[in-house]
Amino acid sequence: MSLIGDLLSLPIPTSWEAFSEGPLSLSQQVFYWSVLITILVFGWLLYAVYRYRRKEGDPDPTDMPTAGVFPGERVNHTIEIAWTIGPLLLVCWITWLSLAPLDNYWDVDRGDELTIEVNASQWSWAFTYPDGNTTYGTVELPPDTRVKFEMESVDVLHAFFLPAFGLKEDIVPNTTTAMWFDTGTVDPGTYPIYCAEYCGDGHSKMLGQIIITEPAA
């Protein structure tokens, strides 16, 4: 991609597709409101600065402040209440939209078909399959399978981050954390694994690969 194309793009990871369908979905709503509010603020600001710019010979505003005198208050309760209630409703709406997709992320039993144990240590990944085999750095998953990652750390905090899919969960020593992933939602191929929680010297090199195999023909 060219630099200009990159700058104008809004790349979304695959897990967001679940809440990007249709104009009322979370990510589209957030996008529309962000653009709308930015245009509103920037437009208002530029309009006001241009419209009320100081020109030679302009009279001073009648309520111009003078040193040592509290200038009194400009107030319009109706409009102030409006721009308090408006944003309040908007953020409640965004919060409401944010709740539904959480089913995909939170600890709910959905009949996992494959459980992979992830063992993170400074600075490598170990994956243990149900048959007891362990691989280092690379995990290979069958297509169309609901996978549960059960993650443990032997030393410090790490985070298991699949950037292409938008999935991330911290790996916390003394605790088992879990992350769910349905390989049916992504194309077969090789994707990177990053450690996303700073864990010391080798943090930027704590990389791995996740391979989704081709479905058997």
């Binding site: 809440f19 962000s34 400009r74 944003p87 965004i94 600075w123 410090v156 991330k168 916390v172 010297d201």
Partner: protein, 742 residues
Amino acid sequence: MKLRNVALMFAIVALLVGASLVPNATSRKDGIPASLGDSVTVNGCNCHGGDASSSVALALDVPANFTGGEIYTLTITMESAVTTDGENQGGFFLSTTQGSLASTDDSTQLIDGYMTHTAAGNDQRSWNVNWTAPADDTRIADFTLYGNSVNGNGAPDTDGSDQWNRATFAVPGANAMVGPEEISDSRKVFYLSLVVIGTLGAVVVGNRMVSTGQSVEDVFGEFWGYLKPWLTTTDHKRIGLLYIGTGLFFFFIAGSLAMLMRLQLLEPDNDFMTNTQFNSTFTMHGTTMVFMAGMPIIFGFANYLVPLQIGARDLAFPRLNALSFWLLPTGALVVYAGYFAGGAGDVGWTGYAPYSSGERSSSPGTDLWVAGQIMLGASSTLTAINFLTMIMRMRAPGVTLMRMPLFTWSITVAVFLLLLAIPVFTIALILLYADRTFGTLYFSVEAGADPILWQHLFWYFGHPEVYVLILPAFGVISDVVATFARRPIFGYTSMVYAMVSIGLISFIVYGHHMFTAGTDPLFRFIVMLTTMLVAVPTGVKIFNWLATLMGGSITTNAAMLFSLGAIATFTIGGITGIVVASIPMDIHLHDTYFIVAHFHYVLIGGTIFGFFSGIYYWFPKVTGRFMNEKIGTLHFILSFITFHAAFYPMHILGMMGMPRRYATYDPALAELNVFVSYSAFIFGAAQLLLVWNILRSWNGGEKASADPWGGWSLEWTTSSPPPPNSFAEIPTLHVSDEEAES
């Protein structure tokens, strides 16, 4: 006890000791047993003669350096003048300080952590063993190898017919520091000249003091007269300037560190810095920007202006105020001393335990980082008490709470947050210091400590802290926008309520930094909602600023431009704040460059632009002279454009999944990263315009009157610059006619 018995006892002890030293008269065809392991480690193969012999050549084909966690096959070979007919040729003993050893075939065996031969391996003089390198590639693995070549008679001979030798091998990890670093010649010259200059200076000064009986003050003459007031002052105006000067100094230091990071990120897998150096650089950049640049600039303005704005002669506790200031450079020196102690702290500005509390984070700079931060925390706590007391007790007549300028209100809320938040951080740091230094176990997960305790303590402080950084900027913007629109601020009362409610909410949102940390889902939901709520009072403030402009007579000079730029940039930073407050989105965006973009939009676009505006706005009050408008406008235009060029693309990099705190990135992201780096270089260079402008305007700017811009608050009623005691007499704040009528 009789002498004879004592002698007997000595004899028995001597015999026992001797027996343990006397060669054990059994051949060890099937390897060295665990019972002999320690003896071999200390004494070598002394069953076969007391001394090692150089006639035995031992080799171990170790790699030049190792990669963490990798498995290497090492071949041991022994060449010796002692020969046999093929059976019973000898054996070996191999131990290592790092990683683990394993057999590859039946000729070797692992006993008690060391490798030795087996009966099958006794017939050869070359063996293969596997070595798994430790995961930590900053370590150095030391191997100790003993080889024994025997004559094959089945018994240990001490007469020289069996020969053995010892050899050691060191294998550094790929990222290990080997040996002390060589000091380059140019550095030696630099250090030497410092020593010479220091010594000569001491001799000259000392000589004059002794020979002419002068005091230090006399010797330094006029220079001392200039220096002493700054070193000993308790005047809030001088301390304010000291704070701002220190803050700007560290702003440039931390900015230079940012430039170094962008140099490293000019290409993927760049070798400009090592990982360790990169980690120290982002740690020091963040820590410096927040605690040594941002907070001091804010408290410099607060020191100078709040007493003037409320008509007080000084802070409540002027000497305490001086202590607060001097703790800042002292704490900063301690933190920066890490660079001279073998590497600055490398735990990130958030210092997450258990990494920061464990032995893996062994950089001496981290101890100094913790110690210095404790000092900075003490400084902030004292400052908070000082300001709260002054604002509550020392307002001039007419300055009621609801008639304070909004900058003073913002400082009031900020110091209240500091008073409640900073002690928690200081206590967490003390616990961390105890863990690191005295071996306590507050954050030790091995001992069963809560692994995310630190995150709770840190963010309980950390989130109010970022509002401490942004609220005073809101105050500056409010004063500047009203003044240059020549109208009163729109909705003064709602502005105050908005700031107070932002302050209150800030204590119940911190969990949004821990959406992926495995915390309780209900906890995550609550903080998502409260975080979203922050947008409401923040939106009120933005709309009030915009409404203030309406019907005004707007001058767009440098001060106003920076305030308007801050409103625009902060709006974007606020919106991205809502994006990352939404848990489904944050799960992807957390700890990526999207977060880096978000908080730089808020803290540079909001705080720093706001305070740049403050510099242009209050410079005439402080010096009695204007800053140059042309340079100021150029400074704004360059800063605004290059800021967005440098930080907007980081949103996209974050969405593409580039993690923060990485010294490298996916090569596919190279174009954007190069663009970001060059924009950042120009942004950094543009800030030199501010320094130049300040220096040339300090004595050479156009003269300014007491109220050059038409501001209303009390600082504009005194002369520019203010007299040493600030006001000729304590002023009274009057009320405008319309206000008095209503």
